[in-house]
């Protein structure tokens, strides 16, 4: 018995040694990749943090490594807190999200439900529906830029329908420009919602729907009690993707209005872009970017934690 126990112990130690050697080898092998990641992700972040604490700009006549000489006592962050243009850009971004994402979700869901049934020409409609998603956003922006010109097709059609000469200056009226931009975003991204939600709907077990029907549930009852709860995870994913993407809205919008008229459609991305290319205040931009990154990470972290908690409670 003793000898057996000893053997066991020896084996355990040997295994431990082997384990350690394995781990060391693993470290060596992944080292190049880790250094690369360090360079790609960590270094820019640190550099950003560094610059965000200074009033350095490419026109300051010094290399970025000398930026410390322009240390400005957190002035970038303090300015940001009271920068009216920043706050309105943030609010505008949130407003775009509040309009576009629910609209895309509801439209996408409605279309997905329609596509659960079979009808003539379903495949053709399916292809047509997915096309906007394939269009390069900048091209989509250009399309809607032309559509919404005062002499453009939108006004032409409105004239033809109403019988009056309609010449609305869509893109130069602050609130109309906002609507035009939202329409373009909804046009382009409803298909993605549709696609994800259709996948979700198709994943709802057919026999459960049949069982519910046999128990006397009508369509709406089945939708609320079976389909929606079964799609919860996929709805969360679809909304998350669109919220994150929509927060970064830029190409379409920039080509249509360039944030204008004035700053009427200026979102965070456009705001940052202008600060970077027009004002060249890179220290300030670095500060904004960091604030956005950290707030988004915190918000997302909380959302994920809550979701995980709910899932654990459910199981």
């Amino acid at each position: 018995m003793t000898s057996f126990a000893e053997t066991e112990a020896t084996l355990a130690i040997a295994a431990d040694d082997a384990d350690r050697a394995d781990r060391r080898l693993g470290l060596y092998l992944t080292l190049p990749a880790q250094i690369l990641v360090l360079f790609i992700a960590v270094f820019p972040l640190l550099m950003q943090l560094y610059i965000s604490l200074t009033s350095w700009s490419p026109l300051s006549g010094r290399g970025w490594w000398d930026a410390w000489t322009l240390w400005n006592n957190f002035a970038n962050y303090l300015n940001l807190a009271v920068d009216a243009r920043w706050w309105s850009a943030l609010l505008r971004t949130l407003l775009v999200m509040a309009i576009c994402v629910p609209a895309e979700f509801l439209l996408g869901l409605a279309l997905a439900i329609l596509f659960m049934d079979n009808f003539r020409g379903k495949r053709v409609f399916y292809s047509i529906l997915l096309m906007p998603m394939m269009v390069v956003p900048a091209v989509a922006g250009y399309m809607f830029f032309m559509l919404f010109q005062s002499g453009g097709p939108v006004n032409n059609i409105a004239s033809a329908i109403s019988g009056h000469n309609v010449a609305i200056a869509w893109l130069s009226n602050p609130s109309l420009a906002f609507i035009a931009v939202a329409v373009a975003d909804i046009w382009q991204w409803t298909p993605l919602m549709f696609l994800i939600l259709l996948a979700g709907l198709l994943g709802v077990p057919d026999d459960q729907l049949k069982a519910a029907t046999l128990l006397g549930a009508n369509w709406w009852q089945r939708f609320v009690t079976i389909m929606l709860p079964r799609m919860r995870a996929i709805i969360v994913i679809a909304l998350a993707i669109r919220l994150i993407e929509n927060f970064k809205i830029f190409d379409t919008l920039y080509i249509m209005t360039a944030g204008g008229p004035g700053t009427a459609t200026e979102t965070i991305s456009v705001f940052i872009y202008k600060l970077t290319t027009n004002d060249l205040s890179w220290g300030y931009v670095a500060a904004i970017a960091l604030v956005v990154l950290i707030s988004l990470s915190v918000a997302l972290g909380i959302a994920i934690a809550r979701q995980t908690k709910r899932r654990e409670a459910a199981s």
Binding site: Q208, A211, A212, L214, L215, G216, A217, T225, R230, S315
Partner: protein, 364 residues
């Protein structure tokens, strides 16, 4: 309470005929088993009764009422799916309450009936558990409870016991029978397991290749199979069928089994009548349990190929002429593989089938 009548039912899937011209009456309060091998159309029949699929032609009646065009939401049949189709995102309680809730039954009434059915099916300890992680046995009872709680007049079960273990299956067979006696529903039970059909059903409807082969009480189907398919399908092992030709000897009709010998005079008039009609080529059928050993040169001459001794009984596989057969004896028999055996079927147990049509000859 409601009877079910299928009239001239057919169902095509493209060019495939799943059901061919089926007429079936299920009596009010009856437990009918729809029995057949996989792909025989029994599940399709069930889906048509439930309204999940429409028939290509033919009508479905519940009692006097033609429900062929009534959508499944309003047919009001209880249905237990083979995989149970439990709403796994809900608790056991929510599953049970579902049918009542969607019908707008008031809350206190729902609570009362859920408690009652949970008590009856021994689901009470699980009521507030999520249904996703229950064992198959509990899911099974839950599936039955969820349908039974709305007290449907017609209850359809699609192979509900095929996923549960053997011991629980025996328990559930009794439970189901008990449930049906208590609620007096008309039950249609789809199964490919003849033991389930024989033990539970008032009548059995045997199907094959979309054709209803025979409807009758379990014993009737067992004793007097309407055709060769039913004879082979019912019973474990099925009926032995040896090719034979009828001929007359000394005023008696006998079956000539070729190399296996000649049968004793066939006692029943049907054989005589068939012979008179010119039917000579028949299947000579008898149950494996109805054989007894005979002295040499009597009865059916067979060579034993294989013997299974299962304790309570002995199954002897044998060749008789060109055909193979099985014999089942209650005790061990002095036979050995490779040896010869002479066996005689009990006179009353012999069944004859027309070899050209496969149909049983009279009360043979």
């Amino acid at each position: 309470m409601s009877s079910i009548h299928l009239k001239g039912l057919t169902k095509h899937f493209g060019s495939f005929q799943a059901i061919k011209q089926m007429d079936l009456d299920v009596h009010d309060g009856e437990f009918l088993a729809l029995l057949g091998p996989s792909g025989c159309g029994k599940s399709t029949t069930m889906n048509i009764i439930a309204g999940m699929e429409g028939a290509t032609t033919g009508r479905v009646l519940f009692g006097e009422r033609d429900v062929s065009d009534v959508p499944m939401t309003r047919r009001g049949v209880g249905f237990v799916f083979q995989n149970y189709a439990i709403f796994t995102h809900m608790s056991v309680r929510a599953n049970l309450a579902y049918g009542l809730k969607v019908r707008g039954v008031p809350k206190p009434e729902i609570d009362k009936r859920v408690a009652a059915i949970a008590d009856f099916l021994q689901l009470a300890p699980f009521l507030d558990r999520p249904s996703a992680k229950l064992s198959v046995n509990i899911l099974q009872r839950l599936a039955i409870g969820r349908s039974a709680i709305v007290q449907p007049a017609i209850f359809l079960l699609d192979e509900p016991l095929s996923n549960v273990d053997a011991a629980f299956r025996a328990v559930m067979r009794t439970e189901l029978k008990h449930l049906q006696r208590q609620f007096k529903q008309t039950m249609v039970y789809v199964t490919h397991d003849q033991l389930e059909a024989m033990t539970m059903a008032d009548r059995i409807a045997v199907m094959d290749h979309g054709v209803l082969q025979q409807v009758g009480t379990p014993l009737d189907v067992y004793n007097n199979p309407a055709n060769v398919f039913v004879a082979r399908f019912i019973g474990s092992p099925g009926m032995n069928l040896l090719p034979a030709s009828l001929r007359e000897t000394d005023g008696n009709i006998v079956a000539d089994l070729g190399a296996a010998g000649v049968s004793r005079p066939l006692p029943r008039g049907a054989a005589k009548a068939a012979y008179a009609q010119g039917i000579q080529d028949v299947w000579f059928g008898f149950r494996p349990e109805e054989l007894s050993l005979a002295a040499d040169s009597q009865g059916i001459a067979a060579s034993v190929t294989f013997i299974e001794r299962i304790g309570s009984r002995t199954v002897v596989h044998f060749d008789a002429g060109q055909a193979a057969g099985k014999a089942v004896f209650q005790n061990d028999v002095p036979l050995h593989a490779g040896g010869a055996a002479h066996m005689v079927p009990a006179d009353a147990a012999v069944r004859l089938f027309d070899r050209s049509t496969g149909r049983a000859i009279g009360e043979a």
